[in-house]
C-alpha cells in the first residue's frame, strides 16, 4: 500500500502476495467468509456491544468502541521481544522517576537536561521526596508501539499516567469468541482474562498495610473511560468511588459508607494529577480529594499511579529514554524509539520547519491525538497555525518524521476487507517484584483509508490481538486431577414430568380432536 512517504507500509498479513505462515490459518478461515457474512457478523457484534453497554463516550455521544472482526496475530517470537522491551523500559523509567523525585543524580550528570524536567507541565514539586511503599510508581502503563516499514517494533510514546483501553482488550476477546468463533480454530491464543487479578495483586502489594482496602477513583459517569473504571472495579471486586465519596482526616483517607467511615489504603485513581487534590494541585478541582497527597506523603495511603509520573512520559523526555536505559541498566534498548526532534533547540526547529510536510508535530504534554499536526495531509492554514504555536512556546512541542505504521486486513464498509494502519498498546502491571505484560494489548486501527491516526478519541477502532503460543513458550498449568471420585455425584437421568401424565394428555388430545358428531 502506497502512502504519503512513498515507502510501502509493512503488511502484517501478506508477504509478496502470499499470507505469512503465522497468518495462513486465519487467512483460510477468512477466505471462506463472504462479504455478506462478514457484514452480518458485524451487525451481531454491534448488537452485542450495545446490549452489553461496552461503550466509549465521545463528545456527548455514547457509542460502541468500533471493534474489527479480524484479529491481529503476533507470534510467540515477536512477543518475546516486545515483552522484554516493555519490561526494560518500565524498569528504566521507574528508576528515572525515583531519581527526579529524589536525589536528582540523573540531572546532575546531565543525562537529561534539567530544564526539560523542571519545565515539564507534569513535573509536580508537590511529589518530591514522596516514597511509595513498595518503591513502585508506574503500577500500570501502556507503551504505544508501532511496526515500521521493515516490520520492526518501535516505541511511539509512553503512557505512565492513566493509560486506558485495557477493558477493551478483555471485552474484544469475549466479543470475538461470541460473534465469530470459527476464527479461533487452529490457534492457541494466550488468554488475557487474568488481567484484573494481576492488577488487584499489584495494588495489594503496593499498599502500606497487609490486608488493604482498595478503591478505584473515577471522575464520574461523564468521563469517556467510565465504562473501563467500572469494569475494573467490578472485576477486581473493589469499590468504585468518586471524589465526593472520600475525605481525609488525620492524614488518612476515609470512604463514606452506610456503616460509617472506612479507611482506604490504596487508591487506583483514574483522574489526572491536576484534579487529584485541590489543596496541593488545581484548587478549583471538584473531582479530587482534599488532603490526599498529604495522606500519601505520610505513608497512610498509596496512590496508583504515583503523582508526577507525567514527567517521564512527557514527549520532550521521550527522546532521552534510550539514554536513560543505558544510564540506569547499562543495556542497549531492546525496542528503539522513533526519531524525534526537540523544537526548543533552534537548529532542530529550523530543520523541521523546512520539511514540515513530512513531519508529525505534537504537543509534548498532550495525549489522545489532540492538537497534533499531520504534515502530509495538513492545509497551509493548519501548518501556519502550528508554526506560530511552536514559535510562541517551543518547549511545548516535538516533531517526528511520519512513520508509516504497519497494516492489517480490516473489515470496512459493507463487509469488504482492506488494509488499514495499526499500532499496539501493550499494558504492563508492576507489582514491585515482577512486571507483567498482558499478552497482546490493545491494537488500535485507523479506520479511514490511509489514515495514521489511531486514537479512539479521533475515530480509531480496535482489534482483538492474539499472541500465539505456537512455540509452547509459555508453561500453562497442566489440567488437574478431577476431584475425589468418592463424592463425585453419579448424576442420574433427569426428573421429568411423569410420562403417564403426557400419555394421558395425548390420549385426551386424540379423543378431544374427534369431537362430537354433528
Amino acid at each position: 500500500m502506497d502512502t504519503v512517504t512513498g515507502v510501502a507500509a509493512y503488511d502484517e498479513m501478506y508477504a509478496a502476495q502470499t499470507p505469512r505462515p503465522e497468518q495462513a490459518e486465519l487467512h483460510r478461515v477468512l477466505a471462506r467468509l463472504s462479504a455478506e457474512e462478514l457484514h452480518d457478523r458485524a451487525r451481531l457484534r454491534d448488537a452485542y456491544l450495545d446490549r452489553n453497554g461496552i461503550t466509549f463516550t465521545l463528545g456527548e455521544r455514547e457509542r460502541p468502541l468500533p471493534m474489527d472482526l479480524i484479529p491481529r496475530i503476533i507470534t510467540a517470537q515477536e512477543w518475546q521481544v516486545i515483552e522484554a522491551g516493555v519490561i526494560q523500559r518500565i524498569e528504566a523509567l521507574e528508576m528515572f522517576l525515583s531519581d527526579v523525585y529524589g536525589p536528582g543524580e540523573v540531572l546532575a550528570e546531565g543525562v537529561v537536561p534539567r530544564s526539560l524536567v523542571t519545565t515539564s507541565t507534569h513535573f509536580h514539586r508537590q511529589a518530591w521526596g514522596m516514597q511509595p511503599s513498595n518503591g513502585v510508581r508506574i503500577h500500570i502503563s501502556g507503551i504505544d508501539l508501532i511496526r515500521d516499514e521493515q516490520g520492526g517494533f518501535r516505541v511511539l510514546e509512553d503512557n505512565l499516567r492513566n493509560p486506558s483501553g485495557v477493558s477493551y482488550v478483555l471485552q474484544n476477546r469475549r466479543t470475538l469468541a461470541h460473534v465469530l468463533p470459527e476464527v479461533f480454530a487452529g490457534h492457541v491464543v494466550r488468554p488475557v482474562a487474568e488481567y484484573p487479578e494481576r492488577l488487584e495483586r499489584a495494588l495489594r502489594k503496593a499498599a502500606p498495610v497487609s490486608n488493604p482496602v482498595i478503591v478505584v477513583l473515577t471522575p464520574g459517569v461523564h468521563n469517556s473511560a467510565h465504562y473501563e473504571h467500572a469494569f475494573l472495579a467490578r472485576n477486581m471486586g473493589v469499590e468504585l468511588v468518586e471524589g465526593r465519596d472520600l475525605y481525609c482526616r488525620d492524614d488518612r483517607v476515609w470512604m463514606r459508607t452506610t456503616l460509617g467511615p472506612r479507611q482506604v489504603d490504596v487508591i487506583y485513581r483514574r483522574i489526572d494529577d491536576d484534579y487529584l487534590d485541590p489543596l496541593q494541585l488545581r484548587p478549583d478541582s471538584v473531582l479530587g480529594v482534599p488532603g490526599v497527597l498529604n495522606a500519601a506523603r505520610a505513608g497512610n495511603v498509596t496512590i496508583a499511579n504515583a503523582v508526577g509520573n507525567g514527567v517521564a512520559d512527557d514527549k520532550a523526555i521521550y527522546p532521552y529514554v534510550p539514554a536513560l536505559i543505558r544510564h540506569y541498566l547499562g543495556a542497549e534498548p531492546i525496542l528503539p524509539n522513533v526519531d524525534t526532534y526537540d523544537l526548543a533547540d533552534e537548529d532542530q526547529r529550523v530543520y523541521v520547519f523546512e520539511r514540515i510536510e513530512s513531519m508529525v508535530v505534537k504537543p509534548s504534554d498532550a495525549s489522545g491525538g489532540y492538537g497534533l499536526l499531520m504534515g502530509p495531509s495538513a492545509t497551509q492554514e493548519q501548518i501556519d497555525q502550528t508554526r506560530a504555536a511552536v514559535l510562541a512556546h517551543p518547549r511545548g512541542w516535538i516533531a517526528q518524521p511520519v512513520v508509516t505504521f504497519s497494516t492489517c486486513p480490516t473489515v470496512v464498509d459493507g463487509g469488504r476487507v482492506d488494509a488499514r494502519h495499526v499500532d499496539l498498546r501493550p499494558f504492563a502491571v508492576n507489582d514491585g517484584d515482577e512486571i507483567y505484560v498482558l499478552p497482546g494489548g490493545l491494537t488500535r486501527v485507523a479506520l479511514p483509508e490511509g489514515s495514521l491516526v489511531v486514537n479512539s478519541s479521533q475515530g480509531g477502532g480496535s482489534k482483538d490481538t492474539w499472541v500465539l503460543d505456537t512455540a509452547g513458550a509459555v508453561q500453562r498449568p497442566a489440567p488437574r486431577e478431577r476431584r475425589r471420585a468418592s463424592v463425585e455425584p453419579d448424576l442420574p437421568a433427569r426428573h421429568e414430568a411423569p410420562r403417564t401424565h403426557d400419555e394421558r394428555l395425548q390420549q385426551q388430545e386424540r379423543q378431544q380432536q374427534q369431537g362430537p358428531p354433528c
Binding site: 451481531l44 461470541h178 479461533f184 491464543v189 488487584e200 489440567p479
Partner: protein, 302 residues
C-alpha cells in the same frame, strides 16, 4: 386447587429453571472452549454433556456441543425440549394462568423451538443469549403478574428444587480441572454469580464451590434455594393443603444442614452439595406422592 394443575405449575417452575440454567451453562462452556482451546475438545464437550445427562458420543467440536444442548422439542433435557415441555404444561393450565405469563412463555417457545435462532449455530453465543433473554422475560412476568396463590407456590417449589439440581450439575462439570486459570470464573459466570462473588475473594475452585453451595444471599446457591423451597412448602400448607408434613421435614432438614454447616472444609462442601442434590430429588418425589397423586393411580382392567 386441582392436583393436576398444581403438578403443572410445579413442572413449569422446574422446566423454566432447567432451560435457563442449561442455556447459560452451554453458552459459557462454548465460549471457554473457543477462547482457550483445550487439548481434547471432545472430552471438554463430554464434561458438560455428562453433567446434563445428555448422550456425549456425538460432540466432537464446540459447535456440535451447542446444537446438541439446544436440541429440539422432542429431545428431553435439551433447552428446546425443556421449553416445549414447560409450554405443554402451560397449555394444560391456560385457564388459570395469567395471560401475560402464557404470552411470555409462548414467545420464548416460538423463538427457541421454531425460530431461526437455533439455525444460527455458527454464532452460538448469539442464539443462546436470545434464549436466556426470553426466559428472563418469563421469570420477570411471573414475578410481576402472578398472584401469590397456591399455583405460584408450587411453581416456586419446583423452581427451587430444580435450582439445587442444576447447581449440583454445574459443580459436577468442574471447569477448573480442565482450565485451572479461568475455569472458576466460568463456573461463576454460568450461574451469573461472577459479580456477586468477586466482592468476597479472588476466584479459586474451593471458594467458588463453597459460594454456590452455602452462600446465604445468592439466589442460586443451594442454601438460598433450600430456604425458598421451605418457604414455598410452608405457604402451601398455610393455604390449607394437607399432607405436606413429610415434604416440609425433608426441605427443612436440608435447609438447616446448609445453614448451620460450621467451618466446612472443601470435602464437607462436596458432601453437602451431594446431600442437597439427593434431598432435592427426594423432595420432588415426596411432593409427587403428597400433592399430585395422593390417591394412587387407578388402573382399569377389563
Amino acid at each position: 386447587m386441582l392436583s393436576r394443575i398444581a403438578e403443572s405449575f410445579f413442572w413449569i417452575g422446574r422446566y423454566l429453571e432447567r432451560a435457563h440454567a442449561t442455556a447459560r451453562m452451554v453458552a459459557e462452556h462454548h465460549q471457554l472452549i473457543v477462547e482457550e482451546a483445550p487439548a481434547d475438545e471432545a472430552a471438554a464437550c463430554a464434561l458438560l454433556l455428562d453433567a446434563l445427562s445428555l448422550p456425549d458420543d456425538e460432540a466432537g467440536a464446540s459447535a456440535d456441543l451447542v446444537s446438541i444442548v439446544l436440541g429440539s422439542a422432542d429431545r428431553s433435557s435439551t433447552v428446546a425440549g425443556v421449553i416445549a415441555a414447560a409450554r405443554a404444561n402451560a397449555l394444560a393450565v391456560r385457564d388459570v394462568l395469567a395471560v401475560e405469563v402464557f404470552e411470555a412463555l409462548n414467545a420464548a417457545h416460538l423463538s427457541v423451538v421454531r425460530g431461526r435462532g437455533l439455525a444460527r449455530v455458527d454464532s452460538p453465543g448469539v442464539a443462546l443469549h436470545r434464549v436466556v433473554e426470553r426466559l428472563l422475560v418469563v421469570h420477570g412476568v411471573i414475578a410481576w403478574a402472578m398472584p401469590r396463590d397456591e399455583a405460584y407456590h408450587f411453581l416456586v417449589l419446583g423452581r427451587s428444587l430444580e435450582r439445587i439440581d442444576m447447581t449440583a450439575r454445574l459443580l459436577a462439570v468442574q471447569h477448573d480441572a480442565v482450565w485451572p486459570e479461568s475455569g472458576s470464573v466460568a463456573t461463576l459466570r454460568s450461574a451469573a454469580a461472577h459479580s456477586a462473588y468477586l466482592r468476597r475473594a479472588a476466584p479459586d475452585g474451593d471458594g467458588v464451590r463453597e459460594f454456590l453451595v452455602l452462600d446465604p444471599d445468592f439466589p442460586r446457591s443451594m442454601r438460598r434455594s433450600a430456604v425458598e423451597a421451605e418457604e414455598a412448602v410452608r405457604s402451601i400448607m398455610a393455604l390449607g393443603a394437607g399432607g405436606g408434613t413429610e415434604l416440609l421435614r425433608e426441605v427443612g432438614m436440608l435447609r438447616s444442614a446448609l445453614e448451620f454447616a460450621v467451618n466446612p472444609t472443601p470435602d464437607d462442601v462436596d458432601r453437602l452439595a451431594e446431600q442437597a442434590r439427593i434431598a432435592a430429588m427426594t423432595a420432588s418425589d415426596i411432593a409427587d406422592a403428597a400433592f399430585f397423586r395422593q390417591s394412587g393411580t387407578i388402573v382399569w382392567s377389563h
